[in-house]
């Protein structure tokens, strides 16, 4: 009897935590709709709440919709239910989100966010044990899972102690928006091989003409026509967030936000020693709100591992982004600290798959600069446009570079 009561209480707490968890996921970039929230609760009704692994797997199925979300889910689940790197931040999100979601959306970074407090893992673990109350399974398998769960927490805590929030000002945003418009309009792609209905098309669509003729007794008075589809360009931006690039990244990130404002077919990745997709953060970047990149770990402020980042983007993260409609922009000084062979393989694959590779190097704007860095020399063979990016004018010139390349 006592045990039943205990489980009911745990379930109630869990359901309450679930709501906070969904807000937490949204803050981490997951776009979870109300319908999905309802589906998550319906799933919980069908799952064994005492079995953490089953709950985890079920929620992952319902709440994730891309591989990237799925890969991050385990970490976020662990951090939320078993401990967190930034206790205050998490509590703010979990509690504050109930009161006012809009506040959370427009949360601006403060200087205090720059350094994050480490939490006491042991106390967090104990707290989680008390809150969830799901350690009531007596089989050995669950016990084994608990150990690995704790290990995962420990590993993740050790791996990324330095969590930063980077605030990007919008001082050049207006100019960069114009530059981005020019740049986007300069991209020309071949039309698709497929035909689509178009009133002023070049070819007659016999099937639709036949269909239309029914209303006129079988006489094709108005022939239906079709035309080749236009391909839309996709922009994938890979921004080097390493220490050596710190003075220049602000400008590029504003440019990225401007491109994203002009076309939704934009993806932004940040990399240093690791790579991370941060496109969702661009959505909040329109003036008057500054672009704010939150919870950055190893993808900001470390060394430069371009090859590894490229490999991840190509193979692991978003292979579907790379097609002949893709304009791939790399913003880096090319001071590669990783394996050069990996960089070469990555660039070669990229060259095969995308329409155009643009490498923006802010150092190129300096007088006397020559691309002698090993990484830069290797990459040059595969680059279509190698341009400078140290000031606003350089971004204006990008459109011109694209036009020159076509000619």
């Amino acid at each position: 009897m006592m045990e039943t009561k205990h489980i009911e209480t745990a379930a109630q707490i869990f359901f309450k935590d679930m709501n906070s968890f969904i807000y937490y996921l949204r803050a981490e970039g997951y776009t979870i709709t109300t319908e999905e929230t309802i589906a998550a609760f319906r799933a919980l009704e069908k799952l064994h709440l005492s079995d953490e692994a089953e709950v985890f797997l079920g929620l992952r199925t319902v709440l994730c919709s891309t591989r990237m979300e799925r890969d991050r889910f385990e970490h976020l689940f662990t951090v939320f239910f078993h401990g967190t790197q930034n206790e205050n931040d998490l509590k703010d999100r979990a509690n504050g989100s109930h009161a006012n979601r809009d506040d959370e959306k427009e949360q601006k970074p403060t200087e205090n966010d720059d350094e994050v407090i480490e939490t006491n893992i042991a106390s967090e673990e104990a707290d989680a044990t008390e809150r969830i109350g799901q350690k009531n399974s007596s089989d050995g398998m669950t016990e084994k899972k608990e150990t690995s769960f704790l290990q995962a927490v420990l590993q993740s805590q050790t791996a990324s102690k330095q969590i930063r929030t980077v605030s990007v000002p919008s001082d050049h945003y207006a100019d960069l928006l114009k530059a981005a418009r020019l740049f986007i309009h300069s991209v020309r792609l071949k039309p698709s091989r497929r035909w689509q209905p178009q009133p002023n098309g070049r070819r007659i669509d016999l099937r639709r003409t036949f269909r239309k003729s029914i209303s006129t007794g079988g006489y094709a008075i108005n022939p239906a026509k079709f035309e080749r589809c236009k391909n839309k360009a996709r922009f994938v931006l890979l921004c080097d967030g390493s220490r050596s690039m710190a003075p220049y990244t602000e400008l590029f990130l504003q440019f990225a936000a401007a491109i994203h404002r002009e076309t939704a077919r934009t993806e932004l990745f940040l990399f240093s020693t690791e790579v991370r997709r941060v496109t969702h953060l661009l959505k909040k970047a329109y003036p008057p709100h500054n672009l704010s990149l939150r919870n950055l770990g190893s993808e900001w402020g470390g060394g430069t591992c371009i090859g590894e980042a490229l490999t991840n983007v190509i193979q692991e993260e978003q292979p579907q982004l790379l097609s002949k409609q893709t304009v791939f922009i790399i913003f880096s000084d090319g001071l590669e600290s990783g394996e050069l062979i990996e960089l070469e393989n990555g660039m070669r694959t990229l060259k095969q798959r995308v329409n155009c590779i643009i490498w923006l190097n802010p150092l190129k704007g300096k007088s006397g600069y020559e691309p002698l860095a090993r990484g830069m020399r290797i990459a040059l063979k595969y680059i279509d446009i190698f341009a400078e990016a140290h000031d606003v004018t350089a971004f204006y010139n990008l459109a011109q570079c694209l036009r020159l390349r076509r000619e």
Binding site: T31, T33, E35, E36, A39, R42, A43, K46, L47, A53, E54, L57, G58, R60, T61, V62, C64, S65, T66, R67, E69, R70, R194, W195, Q196, R207, F210, R211, I214, G217, G218, Q318, P319, Q320, L321, S323, N345, T349
Partner: protein, 286 residues
Amino acid sequence: MVLIQEKLHKQGYIADRSLSVTLQLVMELEKPLLVEGPAGVGKTELAKVLASVLETKLIRLQCYEGLDTTTALYEWNYPKQMLYIRMSENDFPTDEKKAPDIFDEQFLLRRPLLDAITEDEKAPVLLIDEIDRADEAFEAFLLEVLGEFQVTIPEWGTIKAQHKPYVILTSNRTRELSDALRRRCLYEWIDYPDIEKETDILRAKLPGIEKRLAKQVASTMQRLRDLPFYKPPGVAESLDWARALSMLVNADDDELAVTDTLGCLVKDRNDWKLLTENIDILREVE
């Protein structure tokens, strides 16, 4: 969850716990399932096996560039309609005799989606294969089907499913799918199996294979997948290769060697070159 895992196993499909939970939720929540993963890991097979497990019909819609509603949902039989109009040209409608209805069921050509929605005996499994190959416009059209399990034929009105089909969409991620589509689906990622799982798959699919050979094949495949292939070999390639090796073992011809079986593993010229450079990995099986 264990039950469905066992049923899948009986059909020769080795599913891990994650997939079992997902399939359970597909049935409980009546939501479509979007399965992504590299080519050849068993995404399509999952739908086939699910239909066998549930003892229901499998309706398959193979997607491709240019696929439209007339191929996926329904189309009017225009020549038949035209013929009917011509035949009844001199037959003027009177009070007793109505004008010919050329949008009657007899003029309708049913396609997979309509078949799945109007199935009246038992909920079928609807496999929408390689949705990433279809155009964005078709994806938008699918939203009504996947969200409401209904379709609209202008001449007839809205048709709602009597039995909601179990919908499985597969994608190889050759292009990005829209958020709207993703939001309507549960999501599962099927990756390459680990050695143990792949050994089980080989033994389940090829009952005559020796355990040692199955394990060697699985182990070699793991090593091959670490190489930077343009198209890494999937489970389908493992099965082909294991079959080929079994034939080699049974054949009397001494000149045949493992290195003659490269065609089972790679399907691209550059991959072939890479595999030839790393041929030692295959020789370990010998």
